[in-house]
């Protein structure tokens, strides 16, 4: 019954007088005379705003992004390859006292070069040695490449090439007790130029697969890594 009363009251709607026709105009005339309403200044500070961040991708960016990811992956792989750096430093400091032949390092290196192919052939059937099996914890497309240089008299040997930006100190080699220096790097398929650095001097790999002119009157060794 009470709901009935409610619906009854709505019948009064028809009996409610309409405002006169000019009311809107009268109100708007008054509005025109008034100062424009404004929000208080602090509402601009407290009002939550929508912030939309949009990404636009082009193919170029996609490719660049993929390249960046690949480069980052390669960087970590390379770090992996450089891990023996501590061992090298220990070795070289220990060996410093043991090595007597400190005369011209390049000379000794050159001398060693003459028998390098032999050693390489014996030990590694050619340097650098491209490992056929792929390392499980490195990037899947990278192949482990072993670089070997017999240099008994050398105090420090390192490897510089396309893969490390040609920085002579980036990839030190480890010395075996028999005077052979080794380093193993994961390399992506392709042809890589490289050179050894023996006691600060650039020395080409005597046992390289092939060579290419370095543009400075010398030449660089090449290693080809299959895909």
């Amino acid at each position: 019954m009470s709901d009935d009363e409610g619906s009854q009251l709505s019948r009064l709607k028809a009996r409610t007088p309409e405002p006169r026709a000019g009311l809107t105009d009268a109100i708007m005339r008054q509005v025109a005379l008034r100062p424009r309403p404004k929000r208080p200044w602090w509402t601009a500070l407290t009002r939550p705003r929508e912030l939309v961040i949009r990404f636009r991708w082009s193919r170029v960016m996609g490719v660049a992004g993929a390249a960046a990811v690949a480069a980052a992956a390669l960087f970590f792989v390379k770090l992996d390859g450089r891990r023996p750096i501590f061992a090298t430093q220990q070795n070289s400091s220990a060996r410093n006292s043991a090595t007597q032949q400190n005369s011209s390092a390049q000379n000794s290196a050159t001398q060693q070069n003459s028998n390098a192919p032999d050693v390489a052939t014996q030990q590694n059937s050619g340097a650098p040695d491209v490992a056929t099996q792929q390392n499980s914890d490195s990037q899947s497309s990278a192949t482990l490449v072993r670089f070997v240089l017999p240099a008994k008299a050398a105090r420090a040997v390192s490897l510089a090439g396309d893969f490390n930006g040609w920085r002579p100190d980036a990839t030190p080699l480890l010395r075996d007790p028999d005077g052979t220096w080794r380093a193993t790097l994961p390399l992506a398929p392709g042809t890589w130029r490289y050179s050894f650095v023996v006691d600060g001097k650039w020395v080409e790999d005597p046992a390289a697969e092939s060579y290419r002119a370095d543009g400075f009157g010398g030449r660089n060794a090449l290693v080809r890594v299959g895909g």
């Binding site: 409610g6 009251l9 709505s10 009064l12 709607k13 708007m28 025109a32 008034r34 309403p37």
Partner: protein
């Protein structure tokens, strides 16, 4: 040809659209497009006027107060909380203006307080005359008079809930009371309306 091909929309959808239109108009006004206020006035003046009229029962004063309500809302537009419903805010201003008007008039008319036969209603002005509403239904005429005898407190909930048919959520926004309390007030006001209606009908029958 049937005119039933006109798109039919649910009322709630229409209401939501109106609220969205209000919000947009308010933003326009605040952005300096003061002419956009006309849309708001046109959309709400009938209901605002109706509520005020049913509360104060004076046609001329109702128009003045309607105008005052819209101007007060305009002046305070900068403080309007855009998260709220604009129509509720407008109703709130209108109801408060009407109540202030009634209070002021009650003070002024203290000497002839016993003028109304039903007593309790502190309203002033012209109750619909029996002659004028003779052609209207007897039931509506009695209903109108019965409503006019109720207190403002009862009338405001009945006018908003039963005459304007607003949901309780809006009553809550307008009157600022909890919904449960409002429901109780509506039930009691309806009961008192029925009593007043019976009293008037009995008197008419005599």
């Amino acid at each position: 040809m049937y005119p039933s091909r006109v798109a039919i929309r649910s009322t709630s959808e229409a209401v939501r659209d109106a609220a969205e239109d209000d919000r947009r108009a308010v933003e326009l006004v605040l952005a300096g497009e003061t002419g956009a206020y006309r849309a708001i006035v046109e959309r709400h003046q009938r209901s605002i006027h109706a509520v005020i009229f049913r509360l104060i029962h004076d046609r001329d004063d109702a128009e003045d107060l309607t105008q005052a309500a819209f101007l007060q809302a305009y002046d305070a537009l900068g403080r309007f909380d855009r998260e709220r419903r604009f129509s509720s805010w407008l109703f709130r201003i209108a109801v408060n203006l009407a109540k202030d008007h009634l209070k002021a008039n009650a003070r002024r008319e203290v000497p002839d307080e016993d003028a109304g036969e039903a007593g309790a209603a502190p309203f002033s002005g012209s109750l619909p005359q029996p002659e004028a509403s003779a052609q209207a239904g007897e039931r509506e005429r009695l209903l109108e008079r019965a409503l006019a005898t109720l207190s403002v407190r009862d009338r405001e909930v009945l006018v908003l809930k039963d005459l304007q048919e607003l949901p309780y959520e809006e009553l809550h926004e307008i009157l600022g009371r909890p919904i449960t309390a409002l429901k109780i007030r509506v039930v009691r006001a309806r009961a008192r309306l029925r009593v007043a209606l019976d009293a008037l009908a009995g008197k008419g029958a005599l």
